[in-house]
């Protein structure tokens, strides 16, 4: 049904099968979906080599992720693929919710300016994967991407893992210090290690159709409860690049997944949305039922689960792929430091606490949305209808309309790695939060962005007092921000950095390599910074380099 043939990536006989001895690699990544690919790139940026094993030789096909949230785009930007994704993607920030034909609610996810990345883009998962694969090629010394290499066995031991890998040329063994299991919702590693994947199944079935057409729908997320074109159910519409639209139709729990996928059933449903005069072509359609589930633990000795292998959610809220990329953001720098013996294994274990919390938040939100969309009893239906009936006139009821709580960066405030806030710094950027972006300029007046300058090191983000020295501590890079052009500092021309960070003179932040706030103070005290850094258990390392 797909109108384009997917790209095929070349299989090459792995060195282990062309006569070379079994190698030991620092990190093996199982799965070249968005999560595995992003992990390889992030590790490479930290100078750590990896082998990526994928059982397939193509990008993902069919209707999968399309909505990528601002925080994910900021991470993609750090990985060097953000601009390309935004250039191709459909940028949006508004959503409208209808009941029947009446609009009951509209929202704007990013009403303010001064951020490099938009609230959301829609971009087919196959483009995301294609761009990540292309970026991997920038690190030929560090990323060994192996297509049609299926992991068929896993044997963890004290200080590493042995993987059994099957290829068209036969099988081989690969010894790795660490394994990142990014092998998706049906994770083979999870099964082979006998780990239960507990959660909640939703019986409701959804038809997801990607159609190609010229249609005047706005670049907005449109959601209908009880649409006139699909009575009694709900529907969701998104514009994607290449004149492709994604339409989700709720079908009810009784729907026959095979029959509903047939073009003669799908075409009239789509026609009812777009009207009789709009020609369209079906690009792909599938019928899904969803589940919310997670592994109890993400770190099993030297095997670390990330992305869908660790947690799955229903797609309402776009929290699956976005959550997985945030996993990578949290894990890669920790793993890199542990691989380089600059941090204890406990640092990798902190990934489990921090991202387990994120997974719970994503599961909670996507499960609540699914429940709101699919009332299962007369009482659930009565409350849902009451909310929808009150919504047009009552702001509190609009807040209860749950047509998707869209992916937001998750706070790491509950983790012991952050230094509790002493309340002396104004502004919202409490420890644990993902840094907000802001426009800056260098001394020559060239524009840049706060997040771009943060990079992926520990950074002391400082608003030095006039005439004071730039603060500095070992193990951190300093990023100084000033209200006027000044040697050694970035100029906060629009005052947005100071506004967002409560940047009164003297205010100092410790920022983690994943661009989350670790600590903040109203003045610079090297001992306090050292204590905040000590929470990460890092040992001294050579001056931070910045990779290509």
């Amino acid at each position: 049904m797909a109108s384009q043939e997917p790209i095929r990536f070349p299989y090459r006989t792995p060195p282990e099968l062309s006569g070379n001895a079994v190698r030991r690699v620092p990190v093996a990544i199982v799965g070249a979906g968005p999560v595995g690919l992003a992990a390889a790139i992030d590790l490479a940026l930290h100078g750590v080599p990896s082998v990526v094993l994928d059982d397939n030789d193509t990008v993902s096909t069919g209707s999968r992720a399309i909505c990528w949230a601002k925080r994910t785009l900021e991470i993609f930007d750090r990985l060097g693929v953000g601009d390309r994704m935004v250039a191709k993607g459909v940028t949006w920030q508004r959503g409208r919710v209808f009941r029947g034909e009446r609009e009951i609610y509209a929202f704007d996810l990013l009403p303010e300016g001064g951020h490099k990345m938009p609230a959301f883009i829609n971009l087919q998962q196959y483009y995301v994967e294609e761009y990540l694969v292309a970026r991997c090629a920038d690190f030929p010394e560090l990323i060994d991407l192996r297509w049609r290499n299926r992991v068929a066995g896993v044997a963890p031991h004290e200080d590493g893992v042995r993987l059994a890998v099957e290829t068209p040329d036969g099988s081989y063994g690969l010894e790795a210090d660490w394994v990142v299991a990014a092998d998706g919702a049906r994770s083979a590693l999870r099964t082979m290690l006998g780990l239960p994947f507990a959660g909640q199944d939703f019986e409701e079935r959804f038809l997801i159709a990607d159609v190609r057409m010229q249609a005047p729908f706005p670049n907005e997320r449109l959601f209908w409860f009880e649409p006139t074109f699909h009575p009694g159910q709900s529907a969701l519409l998104h514009r994607q690049p290449d004149d492709v639209f994604r339409i989700d139709f709720q079908l009810g729990p009784e729907a026959d997944p095979i029959a509903e996928r047939a073009p003669d059933r799908v075409i009239p449903r789509v026609q009812a949305v777009v009207g009789p005069d709009t020609p369209f072509e079906l690009e792909w359609c599938s019928v899904y039922a969803f589940r919310c589930a997670r592994l109890e633990r993400f770190v099993h000795g030297r095997v670390v689960f990330a992305g869908d292998s660790a947690h799955v959610v229903s797609p309402f809220g776009a929290r699956g792929g976005n959550g997985g990329i945030q996993d990578v953001d949290n894990l890669a720098w920790k793993l890199a430091r542990v691989v380089r013996s600059e941090a204890p294994v406990a640092l990798v274990e902190s990934y489990e606490a921090e991202r387990g919390h994120g997974a719970d938040e994503n599961i909670l939100n996507s499960a609540r949305t699914t429940t709101f969309m699919t009332p299962k009893s007369a009482a659930e239906m009565a409350f849902r209808d009451a909310v929808l009936t009150l919504a047009p006139d009552h702001a509190f009821a609009r807040a209860l309309v749950n047509a998707g709580r869209l992916s937001r960066p998750c706070s790491l405030a509950t983790s012991a790695l952050q230094t509790p806030d002493d309340g002396t710094v104004a502004g919202p950027m409490a420890p644990g939060l993902a840094c907000l972006d802001a426009p800056l300029a260098d001394l020559a007046g060239r524009p840049t962005w706060l997040l771009a300058e943060l990079g992926h090191d520990f950074v002391l983000l400082a608003f030095p007092e006039r005439g004071a020295d730039r603060p500095a501590v070992p193990g951190c890079r300093t990023l100084a921000i000033s209200t006027e052009p000044r040697e050694g500092a970035f100029h906060d021309r629009d005052g947005l950095a100071a506004a967002r960070y409560g940047g009164a003179p003297g205010v100092t932040y410790l920022i983690r390599p994943d661009q989350h706030v670790a600590a903040r103070w109203s003045g610079f005290d090297p001992a306090a910074v050292a204590a905040a850094l000590a929470r990460f258990g890092l040992s001294a390392r050579p001056a931070d380099r910045r990779a290509a």
């Binding site: 007369a378 009482a379 009565a382 409350f383 209808d385 009451a386 909310v387 009936t389 009150l390 009552h394 509190f396 009821a397 209860l400």
Partner: protein
């Protein structure tokens, strides 16, 4: 559960009979479905009007327990 205590005495300022009558009158002539719908709207409005999620949660819990079979 939070330790929020709900009022057991008269919060209706002696006008309980008026309120009760109005409640019944609002349901008059409605079929079960419409009655349930009215109640749902009313509960949401009252919950919001309490201006205190802990008291709403305590009321839900109290209502649930009061209805349990003894």
């Amino acid at each position: 559960m939070s330790g929020t205590e709900l009022r057991r005495g008269d919060g209706l300022r002696g006008r309980g009979d008026d309120v009760y009558e109005a409640l019944l009158a609002a349901h008059h002539g409605l079929d079960d479905r419409s009655s349930a719908a009215l109640n749902a709207r009313l509960i949401l409005l009252l919950a919001n009007e309490l201006d205190d999620p802990d008291r709403v949660l305590a009321a839900i819990e109290l209502a649930r327990r009061a209805g349990a079979v003894r």
